[in-house]
């Protein structure tokens, strides 16, 4: 009986510790425009780049993590998406520029779910678009000569049918 009681106490103590650490542990993210955002550690779990850094340094509760490539506007958008459990409807409301930036941040911070969501959203956006639209969208410089391009288009003429108006 005594042994059991001790075990029980140990379990409760560990739980309490865990809860305490959860409550206390927050991460400060400093964006490119100097804004500091305080987020819960559970949020950071999905950001594998930050997570890897934290695992490596094994720091305590006060962590400041600079994100020189992320603006506060985009970070708040990402937080919205995460709290909304990556709702497709939320993604649809984003502008093209926002979508691209979030996709880049998701890649940079190695957030798999968000990367999948944004990449497939962009793919959905461009799948019926013309080559010109996509060149503009990704800022791609066309280095084919006009003759070469005409030739390539002719080779797979069918692939250029049924394209949406830009």
């Amino acid at each position: 009986m005594g042994e059991r009681g001790e075990e029980w106490e140990a379990v409760m103590l560990r739980k309490a510790e865990e809860e305490e650490s959860k409550a206390v542990k927050k991460v400060k993210l400093v964006t490119s425009d100097g804004v500091t955002m305080e987020v819960e550690i559970s949020t950071v779990k999905e950001m594998e780049t930050i997570q890897a850094f934290m695992n490596a340094t094994d720091t305590d509760n006060s962590i400041i993590f600079p994100l020189p490539k992320v603006s506060s506007h985009i970070l708040s958008r990402i937080m919205e998406l995460m709290s909304g459990e990556y709702d497709q409807e939320l993604v649809k409301r984003l502008s093209h520029e926002e979508l691209k930036e979030i996709c880049m941040v998701a890649n940079y911070l190695n957030m798999k779910t968000l990367l999948h969501l944004t990449a497939s959203a962009i793919a959905n956006l461009i799948q019926n678009k013309s080559v010109e639209f996509v060149r503009h969208f990704f800022n791609i410089i066309n280095d084919f000569t006009p003759e070469e391009e005409v030739q390539l288009r002719k080779t797979h003429e069918w692939a250029f049918e049924g394209v949406d108006e830009d």
Binding site: I126, Q127, I141, N142, T145, E148, Q151
Partner: protein, 611 residues
């Protein structure tokens, strides 16, 4: 806010979510995109994201793709290069590649990128009968009534890059109640040749409608229903083929299923009694046993465990309820075995998809819900008598895209007619070039009628390993699409020295490992030292080069293999490389001798070869 520019790797990640058609379009974005989108890395990345789609193919009639087997109406028409001959037969679908027999030629077709690759013709011993007497009547039944032979096939992939076709020939025995296997071969895409296999001692079960049926892929193996004569009776089992080891195997059936097929009456009606492996997507291995007029459906819940066989459905087709109520057909017609409904597919929702030939050309598709005993009419389709119908899952992919783009047939509008040539793309220099065809081949295409039906007229470069550049030309007289394979020897094609380019990789591999190779012939060393010069596009062999080239003998009977295999065996690499160097050098020399006047114009865009 600055405009974000997505790095190329992230762009590729996005492109990997796109449907194949969009990727075919976006190859035009830039040179970098072109070379990355056709790379094997991207093709496999794209394939991993691709979802299984439901293929529904009646070769000469409907070819379409559905989201899943629930929605037969969501058709996306697949344009197959199919003409109006009868002899189409679908052997199988793997990674979105359809393996199909058209007019006796087996082709791999990727409808997503509209690429068709003809397999090397296979000379089985009776080629004459096969090619001349292969009339529509016999070929649709996969059965040669004169020589009493049945051709059975199977199609399976080995990874994403290698594809195997198993071909088996069985001859009818004197009583005509069985067709023991006499020959078996396997074709591998990487090696592009047919090799004989050890022949399993058994007969394949033959179907009422088309006689032979094609192997069904499940758990990475091919499966056919089979039987053998053991102790005065037929013993039924499943014949398997493992693409990794290229060996046939046996999968045992449940004892009571085998016992049911023993029935003495069966010997009388022998031919159409049998077991047939049924296509499915996520279901366990499913077998349809036909023991006229009874049918049973069995599943092997855990693959490879004989004890896990489970009978899920049994019926009698002469039963009024099943035949007239569910299939709305007069049960009397089932006395004629050819009209027997055949289990085509075990659908994901557990229903069974039956096909029944009613009156030509009508073909009934019925989905039978075995738990409720209800039947859904899916589609009444038209098709030719006995024509193969294929339904099954596969994921559309870009596989073979690297082949279609490396060298492709092309045409341009010159002087009021289409001028056909071969467009080449060199990945080293990222430059497009033209390769000219023989004059008489081009002339055949200038036929004024061709302009009308231009879509199916064209030149297609055929993939091969060490054969001369082969072109497959398609022309359509009288509105029919016929095919003529033209082997173009090096003499028929005016090549530019550029032609060495694709072989450069092999030479480089040897060059890097030359220290490991002992006993290198002097001449080989000479050419390896000059590898850089030789690989240049404007290379002209010096007298010394030609002298050394003479000293190298082409190694006869050596079948070039994948580069990797040869690199593993250093000696063979050298021999093979010698062969290639010899081939290249003599080719360049021939070229220079014949076309002294040929000049290579390196204009702004297109370097054309003028004679």
């Amino acid at each position: 806010m600055s405009v974000p520019i997505l790095p190329i790797d992230l762009q590729l990640e996005i492109f990997s979510y796109l449907p194949c058609k969009a990727i075919m379009r976006f190859m035009v974005l830039s040179r970098l995109h072109h070379s990355l989108l056709i790379s094997p890395d991207f093709i496999s990345r794209h394939h991993h994201k691709s979802r299984n789609k439901f293929f529904f193919l009646v070769p000469s009639y409907i070819t379409c793709l559905c989201e899943d087997d629930d929605h037969f109406t969501l058709f996306q028409n697949l344009m197959l290069p199919v003409g109006h001959y009868f002899c189409h037969r679908i052997i199988g679908i793997c990674n979105g590649i359809i393996c199909m027999q058209m007019d006796g030629v087996i082709s791999f077709i990727n409808p997503m990128i509209r690429y068709c690759f003809d397999l090397a013709l296979h000379d089985d011993e009776d080629r004459s009968i096969y090619s001349y007497n292969f009339t529509s009547y016999r070929s649709i039944y996969c059965y040669d009534f004169i020589s009493r032979r049945i051709y059975s096939y199977g199609f399976i992939s080995r990874g994403l890059s290698d594809y195997l076709v198993v071909k088996m020939v069985s001859y009818s025995n004197d009583e005509g109640e069985s067709f023991p296997l006499r020959n078996a071969w396997v074709y591998t895409y990487v090696k592009d040749d047919w090799r004989p296999l050890e022949i399993p001692d058994c007969s394949l079960c033959i179907t009422p409608a088309t006689f032979a049926y094609n192997g069904v892929v499940h758990s990475g193996l091919l499966h056919w229903g089979a039987k053998k004569w053991v102790e005065n009776t037929w013993y039924y089992f499943i014949l398997t083929f493992d693409p990794q080891t290229e060996v046939f195997g046996e999968l045992l059936l449940a004892d009571n299923l085998v016992a049911a097929l023993y029935h003495p009456d069966n010997y009388e009606r022998g031919v159409f009694v049998g077991i047939f492996v049924v296509q499915n997507n996520n279901k366990p291995l499913t077998v349809y046993s036909l023991n006229s007029p009874n049918g049973t459906v069995w599943v092997m819940d855990r693959y490879g465990i004989t004890e896990s066989w489970n009978q899920i459905f049994t019926f009698n087709w002469t039963d009024n309820y099943i035949s007239s109520t569910l299939f709305s057909i007069n049960p009397d017609i089932y006395r004629h075995l050819l009209r027997f409904p055949f289990l085509l597919f075990h659908r994901d929702d557990g229903t069974l998809l039956f096909g029944a030939e009613l009156n030509c050309p009508q073909y009934l598709l019925r989905s039978l819900d075995i738990s409720h005993g209800t039947c859904t009419v899916l589609n009444n389709i038209g098709r030719r008598i006995g024509e193969d119908l294929y339904i099954g899952y596969s994921s559309p992919s870009l596989v073979l895209l690297d082949k279609v783009s490396a060298s492709m047939g092309a045409k341009k509008w010159v002087e009021n007619t289409w001028y056909y040539f071969i467009l080449t793309f060199d990945p080293q220099t990222e430059v497009f070039r033209e390769l000219l065809l023989a004059d008489n081949l081009v002339a055949a295409y200038c036929h004024p009628d061709n302009y009308e039906r231009e879509v199916f007229v064209g030149i297609f470069v055929v993939q091969n390993n060490n054969k001369p550049l082969t072109v497959y030309s398609l022309n359509s007289p009288n509105g029919y699409h016929c095919r003529a394979t033209v082997n173009i020897s090096s003499d028929d094609v005016e090549t530019t020295p550029y032609f060495i380019g694709p072989r450069l990789k092999a030479i480089q591999a040897t060059f890097e490992r030359r220290n490991e190779l002992e006993m290198l012939p002097r001449s080989a060393n000479y050419f390896l030292d000059r590898a850089l010069e030789i690989s240049k596009t404007d290379y002209e062999p010096s007298d010394m080069d030609i002298l050394y080239a003479e000293g190298i003998s082409l190694v006869n009977g050596l079948k070039p293999d994948t580069l990797d295999e040869y690199v593993r065996n250093g000696r063979e690499v050298m021999e093979w490389e010698n062969g290639i160097l010899h081939w290249n050098i003599s080719k360049v020399r021939d070229y220079n001798n014949k076309h002294r006047r040929a000049k290579l114009h390196k204009g702004k865009g297109w370097p054309f070869c003028h004679v």
